[in-house]
Symmetry: C2
Subunit: 167 residues, 2 copies
Amino acid sequence: MTQTQETPTVISPEALLEHWQGHRRLTRKMIEAFPEDKLFTHTIGGMRPFSGFILEFLGMAVPGLRGVVTGKWENAFDLPHHQKKEPPSTKKELLQQWDETTEEMNKLWAQIPPARFAETDKAFGQWDGTIYFFVFYWIDNEIHHRGQGYVYLRSLGIEPPAFWDRS
Amino acid sequence: MTQTQETPTVISPEALLEHWQGHRRLTRKMIEAFPEDKLFTHTIGGMRPFSGFILEFLGMAVPGLRGVVTGKWENAFDLPHHQKKEPPSTKKELLQQWDETTEEMNKLWAQIPPARFAETDKAFGQWDGTIYFFVFYWIDNEIHHRGQGYVYLRSLGIEPPAFWDRS
């Protein structure tokens, strides 16, 4: 039996970070594609505006990775958009926080021991699961809500950025 | 250096299949949640109806995994929804094809050598990349368009199934 068969892998930690950051580059293009006012106001069917999704992503990425690295999880209600301090209210502020998060994610990711991904933990003190499951959940949640943003843009007559372009 | 560090892994092939099938169980619930007529007709902003997304998912999953297993890719234009034969036109037919695909995927997945995920290939004879990238692309594409289906349902006043519930 070869070593590869003993520890079969689909994707390395390094490649998964690039995968996530690629998705985040696309999400960033989506933020840019929204007209400033629609970003904070346009909704369909009683859902949150696209800015609401972005605040959720920001509230999961760095707080989540801090939990992965340290094993200490901030309470979900302490996430940025639940805090008393004012959340970003302009596209410029959102993009700035997005880019700061990008840098912070890279720093945190580098501190995750590879074996950590298979460990179980209680994310944000509430959800039991394996670390890889949490990471995929955060990525999938971003894809899910960003897809909803595509409908928002289309309903405004705006062509969204190509889904496949993660540059 | 330990073995784990030499071949660091985030997720095993077995766990990735379960991850995908979990997402597919949620997508199946979405198909069920749509009223029969709206499944094939309801759109926003000139996009495809939800059934159109489902046909795309069906056209990627088994044909894609066949390419992964055999290295031979069907031309994308030969995918089911491009074929001359009639695509499913009722919810019952869509669900039946969905379930057949579930079984076929499990059989194909079992035939993928673990080392295959890191290989490069040209998916459907058109897209250069690594196998793991293609697999994530198919999953991500399903999450993306399914999220759009959530907006369709909300715009119809229908509560969609919970995103986190993959049972």
